[in-house]
Amino acid sequence: MAPTDDLFADPPEEAFLVDVEGFEGPLDLLLTLSRSQKVDLRRVSVLGLAEQYLAFVEKARALRIELAADYLVMAAWLAYLKSRLLLPPDPTEEGPSAEDLALHLAFQLERLQAMREAAARLMARDQKGRDFFPRGAPEALAHLRTVKWEASLLDLMRAYARIRTKDEFRPYAFDRHNVYTMEQALDRMRGLIGYMGAWADLTSFLPEGWGEDPSRRRSAMAAHFAAILEMAKRGQVDLRQGDIFAPIYLKRKAE
């Protein structure tokens, strides 16, 4: 399938170089070269292979063909391996032997070759959408997972109660700030009544700062109303109201 594969019965080197782009890296190139030895990959001469590779790189250089860096790295490594393979083993040198390195390279080539073949066999398998088919008109398998949120009225009220309770929870203290007591109102009205002439609306008697805020207003109103009721009882004032919820008027009782 790769065009390079055909080149190897009798590798024309020119074609090689033209095709260098077609190689998938130095290992691929090595694998291609190794095939020209026409032996089982396990018996491939790594030394011969190194020489083939280095010759290839030489040729490319002569033709001023730029090779990618990894090809040159491989070339350097193979030159090193070649020299190690040719020289008698140096007992002082540490690390793996040249034979180990050569074996590993052979293993890499064999493994790459094996994966190539495996890939080809995989792609040759029956494939979905080409050789076998799923249902053409699939139906949706609906899985309606409905979450039913559970909350009862009791939960709701408890939740509210919990919030309110949180607010109310504080050391007991009477809220004097917003409460106007009847005693205060009575004292106040007693002082004011002397100046009263004609009928006057009770609301006009509310003290300053107590007419705006509804809760303060309510408290002051209640206190003053209670106060004037007390005063009416004592015969100090007359009260009048035109209708339910209509303004309450009061007037100093004529003596």
Binding site: V147, M157, A159
Partner: protein, 216 residues
Amino acid sequence: MKEPSKEPIEKSLFEAPPIAEQERMIEAILFAVAEPLTMAELSARLPEGCDAPEAMAYLRKRYEGRGVQVVRVGDAYAFRTAPDLGHLMRKETVEPRKLSRAAIETLAIVAYHQPVTRAEIEEIRGVAVSRGTVDLLLELDWIRLGRRRMTPGRPVTFVVTEAFLDHFGLESARDLPGVKELRAAGLLDSRPLPGANATPDEDDEETPGQTELFED
């Protein structure tokens, strides 16, 4: 009903597969093709000399009473799930899940204070209201957007819905018991533990141990 077969000459040249094989073929085609197929379309896909109507007759017979059936759609054929098994395609599971504390509290505040803005809810709860919580309540159709408040920023307000009233069996949100009634009903514990925020829900419920002791 039989298709006019090809000329005899051709027939002898192309040996048609056995009818059982033809049946297999239309089975596969009918399965894989997205649309219902007419007899002509089926025939066109079969090798020379096949008898699609006959193979179809066998196939339909084979699937009689099975979980799927070959049905006729107009003048075409298709596999369909047996009608009595349609329910298997729709699986409904209902997962009961308890509303989170944040959600139920937010809901309660909307119910008691509607129309109420998010800022107000947060003020009352004393913690931020997550978007998810509001979204869930909106999704449940228990709250909806009310009018914008005519204050700077024109914040949206939330109100409870008909569905909410329906779910909780209320005529109107005004029917919700007030704080006093809650207290009278024993729902308002006036002596919460300090840091009531952290106490789990269960703490708010009556401790059954005590009453049990005195009952019976």
